[in-house]
Amino acid sequence: MSRVVLVTGATGGVGRGIALACGSAGWTVWIAARRDIEGAAVAAEVTALGGHGRFVHCEASDPTSVREAVAGVIACDGALHGVVANATSGLSPRPGAVGEVSLADLHDHVAVSLRGTYLLAVEAGPHLGATGGALLVLTSEAGFEGKAKLPTYAAVKAAQRGLVRALAREWGPAGVRVNALGPLAATPAMVEAFERDPAMAERVLGRSPMGRLGDAATEIGPVARFLLGPDAAFVTGATVMADGGSCSIS
């Protein structure tokens, strides 16, 4: 069955992987992102894979922008079966201990990730209720374990997981599912970080039973597609890790 889904921050990395995986199933995929040219390119990739790729400009932390993006989807396709809160602050990889990170930087993290998820949920909620749809939120192993040098990223990823747990209880009676996905993917940012800091690569890969990063389109994306689709009709409030077994306490 064809479905209509919207993915924020899908111009690259995991978001793009999710979009391509959904597109390969013939779904209509809206790339909701700030970068118009890159977003349109991913939409074209979705179409090339047999789906219907579309782009809508969206600033994840801006209420008006999120509202207009969701309204645009409904105006065009008439329904929304799934939304993916994937957008993350551009400051996510910037290191700094808790006492060193400015509250201005914290604001950016919270606005994009946590407020962005809140806004997307509020705007998409009624439409997901109409289709018995699903909200999927991208979290991280950092949200479970904390990070010495990335505490801000870890905290917002944990907060998103808490949001998922509570919202699943609120939306369950309406038949809307809410889940989280924790990937460990070979994104361009991760590959670049590994090249810059080989010790980091050793640290990250050394703890993984599978000893490698996952492919965003073929190993992470299909898990997201499962959580958005009818095969996961009885899965809600869960955090699923697609990380090759890396996170030890999930």
Partner: protein, 215 residues
């Protein structure tokens, strides 16, 4: 003497008294304007800078609680300003307070974050509070990692006390004393984690919820 970095509220003062501690008050951090651009963090930033230079303690407790948790409210009915007040302002206050805790904890000391967190069964209507609870747990674990090399332990205690609105979802909590009190259940869990007997315990979350979350 235990240093308590927390809100100057009746609930936190009760915790301070139960721990025989000294309170360093976290500013409310909101002012009259809950703008989306966080202009209200100026006061909080200045407070953080000043307090981080204070004397160090072996035992530091953080309880950056809101004045009043407010009634449960579905996310669908939560306006942006309410979301900012219930999620973003507490996030900033906790973040600032945890940074001060790291600065004020002596080498070999212990930090315990005491955060309000509804049990999973009871978290409907508490999306913001549940999110902040999880964020603080992650912050405690991050501090355990960053401060561990100088012998500092960092853990968290969760309490559903002010967030529990009867009737609760069945089955009932294991203990009739649910949701517990600040003076007895919460302070007791904090003392356990501050104790030298917990010398090997760090990056842990202890739910002082009378067994409600079963973890």
């Amino acid at each position: 003497m235990t240093l308590v970095i927390g809100s100057d509220t009746p609930a936190v003062r009760e915790l301070v008294a139960a721990l025989d501690g000294e309170l360093v008050s976290v500013p409310t951090g909101r002012g009259d304007i809950l703008d989306a651009g966080w202009s209200w963090t100026g006061e909080l930033d200045a407070w953080r800078t000043t307090e981080a230079d204070g004397p160090r303690h072996d035992a530091v407790v953080v309880a950056a609680w809101s004045d009043e948790p407010g009634d449960p409210r579905p996310l669908d009915e939560t306006e942006l300003d309410t979301w900012i007040a219930r999620a973003e302002v507490p996030f900033a206050r906790w973040f600032a307070a945890m940074g001060v805790a790291a600065a004020r904890c002596a080498d070999g000391g212990a930090i315990v974050a005491v955060v309000e967190q509804p049990a999973p069964l009871d978290c409907a209507g508490r999306v913001a509070e549940t999110a902040i609870g999880d964020a603080v747990e992650a912050l405690a674990r991050s501090l355990a990692r960053s401060e561990g090399p100088r012998g500092v332990r960092a853990n968290a205690v969760t309490t559903p006390g002010r967030l529990t609105t009867p009737p609760v979802v069945l089955p009932p909590p294991p203990l009739d004393s649910f949701p517990g009190t600040v003076a007895l259940e919460v302070a007791g869990a904090v003392r356990v984690l501050l104790s030298p007997d917990a010398v090997g315990v760090t990056a842990t979350v202890l739910a002082a919820d009378c067994g409600r979350s079963a973890r």
